[in-house]
Amino acid sequence: MNFRTVNTIVRKELLETLRDKRTLIAMIGIPVILYPALIILFGQVALVMESKIEKKESKVAVITEQTVNKIDKSGPIGIEQAGEPVADWIAKLEKVRIVETEDPNGQLSTGKLDAVVVVPQGLEKILARNDTARIILRYDQAEEDSQKAHNRIRDGLRKESTRLLEERLEAKGLEKEFARPLNITDQNVAPAEKTTGSILGRFLPMILIIMLGVGAFYPAIDLTAGEKERGTFETLLSTPTSKMEIVYGKFLTVLCISLFTAFLNLASMVLSVLFMLSQVTAGMDKGSEGLNLSLTQLSGGNIALIFFILIPLAFFICAVMMSIALFARSFKEAQNYVSPFYIAIMLPGMLAGMPGMELTPSSMFIPIANVALLVKDLLIGKCAVEMIFGVFLSTSVYALLGLVVATWLFQREDIVLSEEKGFPLTLRRSEFVPRTYPTIGLSLALFTFMLLLLFYLGSYVQERNIISGLFITEWAILLVPTILILWFVRVDLKESLSLKKPPWASLVGVVLMAGGMFILVLQIFIWQNQVIPIPESFSEKLNKLFEAQQGSLQNLWILLLAFAVSPAICEEVLFRGAILAGVQSRMSKAGTVIVVGILFGLFHVSVYRVLPTALLGMALTYVVIRSGSIFTGMLFHCMHNSATLLIESKHLPQQIQQYIQDIQLEQNGFPVEVLLLGVLGLTAGIVIMEITNKRRKAATKYNNG
């Protein structure tokens, strides 16, 4: 590899990229103009609005309780404006004016009044007999003016209450301290930098990760799919440049732009926040107790460290984005492919912002999340050298892996030079060419679309009622749109969904694999639970549901239909049907198993289920590929979910239930002999699948020949 050539490529790509408006806007426009503008504008507007509300006089009506009743019963009839001495106290308050009105409640709701104070009848008598008088403050929390009035009156009346208390104590000859046995005083020991750091730590890591993505997004596409679309790839390939030199040249360009964007964002954000802080502190009285903030922590060394750790992360993000974009034939198509990844990298960033997430020797290896957590730690000044090293090392490994994949993809002429027509942009069924299998682009688009539907519609219906929600999710949200879309783009449903009778022997293999896989997946779930514990609320919610249904056999059938049968049919059609067919058209069988498995894992939205479900997904993909029939996947899926359901809802036979309790499954996992049994079942199943596959292939060859 010649570094002079790489340098030549980088310089040319940078020049060309800097002449592209899209990249310029993402790289420079957003950080340099948008942030300061937004922060300054919002800050100013907020300040102006605040002072406007502050200056405005609150209009208040004071009425007695009796009047209220009258109003409620038969409308306003001759209201007594009353409530001495409350009216006097309120009248004394600054910027509060008492208004006489016929219809206090009506005026409050229309905003003509800011608050209504309801005073009990005979207030003075109540006070005189040392009783408590209930004073109701009516206000409209949705209106800022009303809130302000509420605060003003509440503070004023509290002062009066304290004064009255003191009078009462004095009358009894008691000291003030009598009514205040404990004096609780807060003392925050966190230095100002740490407070600032923990606030910044909640959002800065995610913003930095997003900005690396934003910076890389357009160049990664432009330098790969864009170059393909413009037909210049072949020009470049005709020079004595090696593929490696091309990859590295392009990659370094994307990396530079990504890092530069992140750096500009970091700088711009720090400056904007500093500016805003100076405004806020200038607006506050000196010595008043506000948020104790300081940005000294964000200086010198730590910014350098944060930037240093972002380098391998940027490496990783750029390499993956370029690899994905390379599959597309046009800029637009590439945008569709890269967007899901771009969204996916935000999730670990968000995870790091959640309370309780900390950098541990195990979370040190979760890609992207580890960097986010480290940045968070650096911001609060808590950083162990071995953690920095560990995160840097593991991120570098991922980066390298990404780069290896990108280089490998660049070497493949079928990917770099593919010329097949892309996904048609207009949407008329007649314009689609009938085809046996969906394209990989369609499959990925379908996946993203279904994920969004699940995210917005599915979670909504399941929130309302989990059982009916599950049925709606599986059948109406997943199955029907999947089939409709496939029909619309004129894909052969029978072929692409593998709607074929499986060889009988393969069913034996599936049953064995499902048994083995169930044990192994459950074990992995338990292991994972020890590393990243599932928050209580998640498992509690499920357990409650099962407890409610316990004992009733009729309900068990409904549960089985909702948790096992429906997912087995609907999710299989989506994943082992539509998605599998598209992915397989571009990848080897092994690659397909891995990709479809991972997509299946990601589809279960919860971070805690990605790994186990991805593994399950791989096994499901494998059996469908090997048997050539989606029904094997359905059987497998149904068995797995049923077993999970039975174990969770404690519907298993007495002996097994007892055994699970004896071995303390949730804490210890399975004993070795059971695990071995699982491995054995899985292996035996795979062997049977391989044999039946060979026989099936031989048979089809025979039939065709």
Binding site: T8, K12, F233, E234, S238, T239, P240, S242, L417, T436
Partner: protein, 249 residues
């Protein structure tokens, strides 16, 4: 200079479908010779030339350029080749001059040499008027002139030109064809594919007819006419195609 030996390229568009784009193509081109490749759209011309240009690797067979095998030393081979096809476009956001300079550097040329060469080519191909404008604004003819400049810039021994006059007006075509003839005079070996029979008659020392991935016949114009017993290349080609089809069935 160039020798293709049983070149075959099979594409797998997925799922068991197999497309044989070029099958068992063999031919040779000597120094200072123009070899014409003629055939209809989709005949396999571009795939064949792409294999010679090391853009894609042959499924079987091999080719030698300047004694080097394209599959074994692709980078060395590319140093001796200038490759032009409908898929070798220009970088729209660069100017013609930047474009040529970039390729000069990729071929490892000295900065001084690149500068001289660009000036020389600007004169020969009449590019002075537009060389400092961005390529995205070029007309087809202007773009093709810069592409021809790009191909010859590093003075390669072999020129592979896939339909270099496609879509050009007669003026630009003539400039480019003259330029190719001149390159031949300077000893470049040239492979040249075209639709236009008259162009082939005028330019080529020898030619090959390609149809459905196979070279049906090759030789000098006279040889082909004699063999097919026709009096022009068009009829000769059509008779070859007609002869070929019954055989295939």
């Amino acid at each position: 200079m160039i020798r293709a030996e049983s070149l075959t390229k099979v594409f797998n568009p997925g799922r068991g479908k197999v497309v044989e784009a070029v099958r068992e193509a063999s031919f040779a081109v000597a120094r200072g010779e123009i070899f014409g490749l003629m055939g209809p759209n989709g005949a396999g011309k571009t795939t064949l030339l792409r294999m010679l240009g090391t853009i894609i690797t042959p499924t079987s067979g091999y080719c030698l350029v300047g004694g080097l095998r394209t599959d074994e030393q692709p980078e060395e081979v590319r140093r001796q080749i200038g490759f032009l096809s409908g898929n070798t476009k220009l970088y729209g956001r660069l100017t013609g001059r930047e474009m040529l300079r970039y390729f000069g550097r990729l071929y490892g040329m000295e900065e001084e040499r690149i500068k001289e060469k660009i000036e020389e080519l600007a004169g020969l191909l009449e590019m002075g008027g537009f060389l400092d404008r961005k390529c995205e604004g070029y007309s087809t003819g202007q773009a093709q002139k810069v592409s021809i400049g790009r191909v010859i810039l590093h003075d390669p021994a072999v020129l592979i030109l896939d339909e270099p006059t496609l879509g050009l007006d007669i003026m630009t075509s003539r400039t480019i064809l003259d330029f190719i003839l001149e390159a031949k005079g300077r000893g470049h070996s040239i492979i040249f594919s075209t639709h236009y029979v008259t162009e082939a008659e005028m330019m080529c020392d020898r030619m090959g007819f390609i149809h459905q991935g196979r070279i049906l016949m090759q030789g000098t114009q006279e040889m082909i006419l004699q063999e097919t017993q026709k009096d022009n290349l068009k009829d000769a080609f059509l008779s070859l195609v007609d002869r070929k089809i019954p055989q295939a069935i």
